[in-house]
């Protein structure tokens, strides 16, 4: 049976999400190497990350092998990703709202994944025991996820409006984003309560998607249809907005705050520095020789009539 319009929208939403996220990833990773700007503690510094030390604490550090710890980095990464550690430590009242919201979203993402696994198990490979386990996990993740995310989202909206520190800095689009998520969550809750208390239809929907076959599609109520459409639109919308900060966060930490890669002769870093310092300087202040390269500007500074550096 051909695929339905809702199925087509679901595929499109997923594809657009993946493509835009991937292109953003490419955009950030293809940016030029910047000057070092790390911030301590850098968690991969073996033996020193506890107090924020660096390899520069050693005499002749550039001659010595670097000792790094992936475990240290993973620990910091996961405690931030899974527990939002910095908000917990530095702004606890907000954490009580943002944590359920984010944890709820993680559970909903897990729920999607489980639905997908369940779809595969019912269409392609039959492992009844696993299907059973997945079924129960779907109940747990779906239920806790949607409740936590909705409560967190409502809390965040209330906080955003009641906390002047936050409200004064918030643009209309940021409020719109929160309400958009809330509406998707509320239509999800309405669908769940009125139509799909065991996520049976959600499983069927995913089965149809996995099988590329609309014959498996359940008959959706209006609220369920509205929910699916809004959810798909949200998937499409997220990567274009700041809500995709999960991408940014990787780069801010890994490529800026923890980037302590050393430049030594013959290294890749040196090759990049050589290339970048050949770029022409577009700046216009009097002390800049506009159009000349960074290197020329830095090394062949114009001299005054006494042979002294002019700037």
């Amino acid at each position: 049976m051909p695929i339905s319009a809702l199925m087509a929208l679901s595929y499109a939403a997923f594809a657009i999400f993946v493509i835009v996220v991937a292109s953003k990833w490419v955009k950030w990773s293809s940016m030029p190497m910047h000057l070092r700007w790390e911030l301590y503690p850098v968690p991969h510094e073996a033996g020193r990350n506890q107090y924020g030390g660096s390899y520069i604490e050693e005499v002749d550090y550039w001659k010595k092998p670097r000792e790094t710890t992936l475990a240290g980095e993973l620990k910091d990464m996961f405690s931030e990703m899974l527990f939002i550690k910095r908000v917990y430590e530095y702004k606890r009242p907000l954490w009580w709202l943002t944590y359920p919201f984010h944890a709820g979203i993680y559970l909903i993402l897990a729920w999607f994944f489980l639905l997908f696994v369940h779809g595969i198990l019912s269409v392609y490979i039959s492992i009844p025991v696993l299907a059973k386990v997945v079924y129960y996990l779907i109940q747990i993740c779906g239920t806790i996820g949607i409740i936590a995310a909705t409560l967190g989202c409502i809390g965040l909206i209330i906080r955003r409006f009641s906390d002047k520190d936050m409200l004064n800095y918030t643009a209309g689009v940021e409020i719109f984003n929160l309400f958009f998520i809330l509406i998707v969550l509320l239509t999800g809750i309405a669908t769940w309560i009125t139509y799909d208390p065991n996520f049976q239809h959600a499983m069927e929907f995913m089965k149809a998607l996995v099988a590329f076959n609309s014959a498996y599609l359940p008959k959706l109520t209006t609220i369920a249809e509205v929910h699916v459409i809004l959810l798909c639109l949200l998937w499409i919308y997220i990567p274009f907005t700041k809500m995709s900060h999960f991408i940014g966060k990787y780069f801010t930490f890994h490529k800026v705050l923890w980037d302590d890669e050393l430049n030594v002769p013959g290294s890749k870093v040196e090759a990049k520095v050589r290339e970048l310092t050949r770029l022409p300087m577009p700046w216009s202040a009097p002390h800049v020789d506009t159009g000349k390269s960074w290197d020329e500007n830095a090394l062949e500074n114009p001299k005054d009539e006494w042979g002294r550096w002019k700037y």
Binding site: H34, L39, V42, G52, A171, V173, P282
Partner: protein, 539 residues
């Protein structure tokens, strides 16, 4: 004078009022005893009326950028806005800003406006939470301008996406001044769940004004990097001048330790080129003297340089201008290579540490590459390997350690200096918080050397206030003026800020709190020395 009498928002940067805020001592965060009583600190003053004509007093009445850059008429205002937007566009290109493009765009793009960072900022907190000093205030102004003028979404959807902002001369004057109400300490960045860097945004705003329009505080540019490159030092010290001072230091050492030490200058092939902040030669010659004593006693092969630029480790470019940073770093490396030394070692100067060791790591290449390192690990090796005999009892007075942000939070040199103090200062006590979570001395990012107009008043009353509070707390068990207390600040700029802080609050007279570097304490503990090296006098 008209000020804004309601809560301030980012869009108020464009407000036509004379000044957004006016500070009074009563607004500021309270200090611990004995400074909790009225009359213990000076009242804050208004800017002189004539300053308002030419200078940007529009933020809080204080002037960091001591150039007469206030537009006089509509045409000048338009020219300023146009230059600013040109500069902003350059800041967003690879050619103009490969140096910080990725960090800047990440920080502009992803702030969640959660304000987790605000309470980490010593200036915001100690000012009594003045909105204009909040880490996100200036960042949000730049972000809104960027969104509105430089992004497709902002151009199409306007205020709905960018937030409200009007771009006029007031906005730009307040934005530029507010970039100089942040010490670039990046304490706020440590707390941000997304890794957004408001300190970096201040840095980029400063750069935009400097690199495009030549607008920067005189102490940083004209009398700072330009004088450094032209004359040899940002202090104005010439090569001949430095040689004279070195001779004077040799005499002084002889007076103090009864032994003449020949300070090596321009010695080719030495292992180490030691570069001090030239401010040490002029204001604290005992610091280079102490280095000389320690290095000679420990048998280290080292030299100073008397060549222009290389006898001054400072690199003010790191605070406001990438090109000036590159020029000075390249000159340092070039001269070191000419001297055929194995490495550059930076004396007690925090920003010089970071500039040449970390930031310039991606400026130096090929012929102008040379290893660079901090003096701290070498000093710790002297103690650890017992190359000199020390008697810690000679330092038996209360000592606390100030962590220079540049050396600690921004380059991870945390432990060597503490290990030395734990060994050599029996009454060493930490400030809270300390290490990588320290507070800036208030002199960071150039503030310590910005002495013109009313800026020092702001620095002393607001920027150094947190440090003063920490110092009082660290010494709370021994505030009695009969006990001499020592703030160990292994950084020239921090020492400058602490000196001014102690003088502003009269803390040396009232409480016998003094300050100095780390090497002075080390020499003070040397068994061979008959007289104490540390002198308990305020200077």
């Amino acid at each position: 004078m008209e000020i804004l009498s309601r809560e301030i928002k980012p869009e108020d940067a464009a407000s036509p009022v004379d000044q957004l805020v006016k500070l009074t001592v009563r607004d500021l965060e309270k200090l611990p005893p004995p400074y909790d009583k009225p009359g213990m600190e000076p009242e804050l003053t208004d800017p002189k009326p004539e300053w308002k004509e030419k200078y940007a007093t529009d933020l809080d009445g204080y002037i960091a950028i001591d150039l007469p850059w206030k537009p006089k008429n509509k045409e000048e205002e338009e020219r300023l806005i146009k230059s600013f937007l040109n500069g902003l566009n350059k800041l967003l290109t690879k050619e103009g800003n490969w140096t910080f493009l990725q960090p800047l765009l990440l920080s502009l793009e992803y702030c969640a406006k959660c304000q987790t960072c605000s309470n980490a900022c010593p200036i915001y907190i100690m000012s009594g939470k003045q909105e204009v000093y909040k880490p996100t205030w200036r960042a949000e102004i730049l972000r809104r301008i960027w969104k509105k003028y430089c992004t497709p979404a902002g151009k199409i959807f306007g205020k709905f996406v960018s937030g409200d902002i009007e771009l006029n001369a007031k906005t730009l004057m307040r934005l530029a001044e507010s970039a100089y109400r942040c010490t670039l300490c990046r304490r706020c960045t440590q707390t941000c769940p997304i890794g957004v860097d408001n300190g970096l945004i201040s840095h980029e705003i400063r750069k935009l004004f400097s690199q495009e329009m030549g607008i920067a505080p005189k102490a940083l540019h004209e009398l700072g990097t330009v004088q450094h490159l032209k004359v040899g030092s940002s202090t104005g010290l010439t090569p001949d001048g430095v040689k004279d001072i070195i001779e004077f230091i040799e005499d002084d050492i002889e007076d103090k330790i009864g032994k003449r030490i020949k300070i090596p200058v321009d010695e080719k092939g030495a292992d180490i080129l030691l570069i001090h902040n030239a401010g040490e030669f002029l204001s604290w010659p005992e610091n280079p003297a102490a280095f000389a004593i320690l290095f000679e006693e420990a048998g280290i092969s080292w030299t100073l340089s008397s060549e222009q630029v290389a006898y001054d480790a400072v690199n003010y470019g790191v605070w406001y201008d990438d090109l000036q940073l590159a020029r000075i770093a390249a000159k340092h490396a070039e001269i070191a290579n000419k001297l055929e030394v194995n490495k550059i070692v930076v004396g007690e100067c925090g920003h010089a540490h970071k500039a040449i060791t970390v930031i310039a790591d991606r400026v130096l290449h090929d012929d102008i590459w040379i290893p660079r390192e901090s003096c701290m690990p070498i000093l710790w090796e002297i103690v650890k390997k017992e190359k000199i005999n020390f008697d810690p009892e000679k330092n038996n007075f209360p000592v606390t350690l100030h962590d220079p942000c540049n050396m600690v939070r921004l380059m991870g040199v945390v432990e060597p200096q503490r290990k030395i103090l734990r060994k050599l200062a029996p009454q060493f006590r930490e400030m809270e918080p300390h290490g990588v979570y320290n507070y800036c001395c208030g002199g960071g990012s150039g503030f310590a050397i910005m002495q013109s107009m009313n800026f020092p008043e702001w620095r002393n009353a607001v920027a150094t206030r947190m440090k003063f509070k920490q110092v009082l707390e660290a010494f709370k068990d021994c505030l009695d003026p009969s006990i001499n207390k020592y703030i160990c600040a292994p950084c020239s700029n921090c020492k400058g800020a602490i000196r001014d802080m102690l003088s502003y609050y009269q803390a040396s007279e009232r409480l016998s709190i003094y300050y100095g570097g780390l090497v002075e304490l080390m020499v003070n503990a040397m068994v061979d020395l008959e007289e104490p090296f540390v002198e308990w006098e305020f200077h």
